[in-house]
Amino acid sequence: MTAPSQHRPGVVVTGIGMVTPVGVTTGEAWKAACAGLPGATDDPRLAGLGVSFSCAVTGFDAEQACGGEARRMDPFTQFAVAAARAAVADAAVTDGSWDPSRVGVVLGTAVGGQQTWEEQGRRMAVRGPRAVNPLTVPKAIGNIAAGTVALDLGLHGPSLSVSTACASGTTALGVALDLLRAGRCDVVLAGGTEATVTPLVATAFDRLKALSRHGDEPARASRPFDARRGGFVLGEGAAVLVLERAEDARSRGRCGYARLLGYGASSDSHHLTAPDPEGRGARLALRQALSDARVRASDVSLVNAHATGTPQGDAVEARVIAGMFGPKVAVTSTKGVTGHMLGAAGAVEAAFTALSVDQGVIPPTANFEAPDADLPEIDIVHGAPRHTPVSVAVSNSFGFGGQNAVVVLGSA
């Protein structure tokens, strides 16, 4: 972490691209988030399984979004390429306004090209080795989304893949911030992507008892912080943010949606899947992020929580938020709408947080109906979007393996 006395360039978010279960453009996704409209529906891909609904991306035309090369891409790469193209268009950085050798890509993914692995595994099991597509490896390996984004946009800076499970998208933003502060890149496309709504992954999470089982009412299944929450809803999609130094953005007449003020990361070092019951790792990441951002907890007016709707995870996070920020800070979890997009979640939530800062609107926590009596009082935005200025906000992400990441965003 940079010493407080050292000059650091400010970093701003100048472009956002999203592919989500509630819209394949940023505008659609943000509108759905603010309306608190849950994206969970019955999913034919999961028919007959223990949990047969998801927050699936619909209305996504891969060839239209990614061009003819789409057939060479697993959906996790297609989502990333579509989001990256949209983010770059939104930022209005074009050929000639950047040096491709100074533009980096950092993308988080928890799993990688799972649909390709599963499909080819089935083909091999049924029809033998000759049925395996020769493109299986280059479609499915975890780094290929970042590599393909660089290839698609003609970028020659570093392209990196980070994997910290459900914190991957947030970790990617932190790594990107470091690349910009260190002067290794002028622009970084950072975000996360995931396409793991598959029979195997859904079953595996269900076997772990991690998924919500509101099969009769999928739209009400993702219920962060609610007293009747019972697990998360599997989601998919991608978000990519264009990050650049504030002075560079200003020089081309852009102020950006928000500043990326700071980043913190930690490891629980406690358990394979369960959070530290005291939330020590989460607190550590939050403290580091606030310190890196040079803000105090009292400056924070919004927490976009990790809250996935699991009983234990949401409880620990609520205690951490109450302990660090008190009962007054506004808290939302947009996973009530998007479901849990795993490695893309942190990027999508950082994008929503940047939009909250930019527009002074906090999306409600969908399906939050009754507070959990066992949790401390926190101000969970629910029912309707809240219109209020947000000058400093944090976005939390916590992953299996006890990997935690937090970003701090503020007014541009």
Partner: protein, 78 residues
């Protein structure tokens, strides 16, 4: 018959610019090695035949591949 079929695939899936001269090799048509491997797998799938690596190379022409498919007894369904 197979020339027409292959030209359609090359233009549609592999984005080879039309008109496709069937006497040109895949290398001359700028079909890269990854696409060639993919095409081979696609044809094996479609016709239930086996195509060995040396039977479909960058030097193979579309006409030669069409003749190969014919010789292997591949059957085009409408």
């Amino acid at each position: 018959m197979f020339v027409h079929y292959l030209s359609d695939i090359l233009a549609g899936t592999y984005k080879v610019p039309a008109p496709i001269d069937p006497d040109r090799s895949f290398q001359q048509l700028e079909v890269d090695s990854l696409s060639l491997a993919e095409l081979g797998a696609q044809l094996e799938d479609e016709f239930g035949i086996t195509i060995e690596e040396e039977e479909l190379t960058p030097a193979t022409t579309v006409t030669a591949l069409a003749e190969f498919l014919q010789a292997r007894g591949a059957v085009l369904t409408a």
